[in-house]
């Protein structure tokens, strides 16, 4: 299909080029406004900042002071990277276990994971945040455990789907040759699971990086904020919103995402397709 050239292809190309410009326009608009003096932002959002409207990096400096953006960035990065790593490691092991050991526990665990995928966060938000506080999980390290628990459903489900397609003979051969289950898993099974690991990692990273409500309820706000929390705090923490700082922080929040997207675009898109087919 893809190779056939369309009739009047250039009309479509022009149409989609215009549409693409319209698509990135909201982001460009925020970028433009981040260099504008704050009083002009809500009054004249569509003008290019010149002379008296132009404030150089003031909004950025101001915003970073207000919400400690780099701390928030560090927290977000730490929580996302380690949560995803822990999720991948623990759930792939668990999925292998419940696929290979036929027991009542395996069946129950599988269906509970499936079930947890349709439970909305509001259902558990109050009890989960209270429980996390009681168990002293209100730190960036503690929240990793919460993410492992709440993200396990989807991850276990996806790994199970893949493990079932791996022929049993490979593992049996390894075991007969004297591998312990741990060696078998890490030397034979885990390398085969790599494509699924990437899919799970991308889906979970997109969720955890952007998640607002869970860290807001679980983390101790006074000491740690993630990027979405910091941005929302900019609005909630002060009576009237400092639009200049807001625009600058929005730009800073988007930049890492765009850099990451450009770097692993192919994996992200493939991961989404693979995730959708199995989910």
């Amino acid at each position: 299909m893809g190779v056939r050239k369309a009739k009047h292809g250039w009309i479509y190309t022009i149409f989609f080029s215009l549409l693409s410009i319209a698509w990135v326009f909201p982001i460009i608009l925020v970028l433009i406004n981040s260099f504008k003096k704050k009083v002009y932002i809500s009054r004249k959002p569509f003008t290019i900042p010149t002379d008296k409207m132009f404030v150089k990096w003031d909004n950025y400096v101001n915003g970073m002071e207000k919400i400690h953006f780099f701390d928030a960035f560090k927290n977000s990065l730490f929580i996302t990277v380690f949560s995803v790593a822990v999720i991948i490691l623990c759930t792939s092991m668990c999925a292998w276990y419940i696929s290979r050991v036929k027991s009542a526990f395996s069946t129950w665990m599988y269906y509970l994971c499936l079930f947890s995928m349709i439970v909305p966060f509001q259902m558990v938000m109050f009890t989960l945040s209270k429980l996390a506080n009681m168990l002293h999980l209100s730190s960036p390290v503690g929240i990793i455990l919460v993410y492992l628990g709440f993200g396990a459903g989807l991850a276990v489900f996806m790994f199970c789907g893949f493990v079932r397609s791996i022929p049993l003979e490979i593992e049996e051969a390894a075991m007969i040759d004297g591998c312990t289950p741990i060696q078998t898993f890490f030397q034979i099974v885990f390398p085969i699971l790599k494509p699924t690991c990437i899919t799970v990692a991308i889906l979970q990273a997109m969720w955890i990086w952007n998640d607002y409500l869970l860290p807001y309820l679980v983390l101790d706000m006074k000491r740690w904020k993630t990027i979405p929390m910091a941005i929302q705090y900019l609005k909630g923490g002060y009576g009237s919103v400092d639009m200049g700082a807001m625009m600058a922080m929005l730009v800073l929040a988007i930049i890492p995402i765009i850099v990451f997207y450009m770097a692993c675009q192919k994996h992200i898109i493939e991961g989404v397709v693979a995730g959708a087919v199995k989910g």
């Binding site: 608009l29 429980l131 709440f150 941005i231 609005k235």
Partner: protein
């Protein structure tokens, strides 16, 4: 082999099981129990039977939020899927620059709900300022604002799924239909759409549940203004919990109702569209 793996239960399954118990099973069961209680924190719960559920019905904001969410979900599901499918059809025709377009359309997906909400607040308030209005002027503005935002965010994602579905259709099928004299409309209706039905199932499922569970975007864009009129269900539940003291039990009961609705939608939708899929 089973036996030797079984001995390693504490290493393989226990960490996930423990976290899953803390992060999901206990909060879920406790949540159901607390919906029958009056409480301000987990430890001072007093059993009150189903009175929390009765209070939901006397709470007018919940009915409004339910209705608002239902209409919002239907409108956004239809718009997103129709537009995403159309774009996917056009982008599988071998147009120049397809890869760039795909990249651009997908990008908003990676941006988080809070950030998205504020980006669109700026843009939409800027446009509405020309008419001396703002997004929070009436709930209709908030409604369409959210619809536009969701289209912008999700069309790219659904488009990617549709594109992979369309590319999986064997070329011979379309060729054969053409030789038999089918028009483009007939090919679309009788070949393409039935063949991409699995993608349609997935995309409607994702857009339905995303729309119904929407929270961050709602919070950032309008925060339910004016006076809770643009409040979706998730935000309504949140405000019941954290905005009104003494209503925690009602909030939890609302959350249970919300969960049942989401579960019914998910299961029902899956059943309905799966039936229409063709066996390959």
């Amino acid at each position: 082999m089973q036996k030797s793996i079984k001995k390693y239960f504490p290493i393989f399954a226990l960490p996930t099981l423990a976290a899953f118990t803390i992060g999901f099973i206990i909060p879920f069961l406790l949540g159901i129990y607390l919906s029958f209680c009056k409480f301000t924190t987990v430890t001072d719960a007093k059993f009150v039977g189903i009175s929390n559920y009765f209070k939901i019905f006397s709470d007018k904001t919940f009915g409004h939020a339910l209705w608002y969410t239902a209409v919002f979900t239907i409108v956004s599901v239809l718009l997103i899927n129709v537009l995403a499918f159309t774009v996917a059809m056009l982008l599988t025709k071998g147009i120049k620059g397809t890869n760039i377009f795909r990249t651009v359309f997908f990008m908003p997906n990676l941006i988080g709900g809070i950030v998205l909400g504020y980006i669109w607040q700026l843009l939409l308030n800027g446009i509405l300022a020309h008419f001396q209005k703002t997004l929070t002027y009436s709930s209709a503005y908030g409604f369409w604002g959210l619809v536009v935002l969701m289209c912008w965010q999700q069309i790219g994602y659904m488009m990617i799924i549709y594109i992979s579905g369309i590319q999986n259709i064997p070329g011979e099928l379309i060729e054969a239909a053409k030789i038999d004299g089918a028009t483009n409309g007939q090919i679309l209706r009788n070949v393409t759409i039935p063949m991409v039905m699995p993608s349609i199932t997935i995309c409607t499922f994702l857009t339905l549940t995303n729309g119904f569970k929407l929270f961050d975007q709602n919070l950032a864009l309008t925060n339910g203004e004016p006076s809770n009129m643009s409040e979706l269900l998730a935000l309504n539940i949140y405000n019941t919990f954290y905005g009104r003291t003494g209503f925690e039990g009602v909030g939890q009961a609302k959350a249970v109702v919300f969960f049942i609705l989401v579960a019914l939608i998910a299961v029902g939708q899956n059943y309905l569209t799966r039936r229409k899929e063709v066996q390959q």
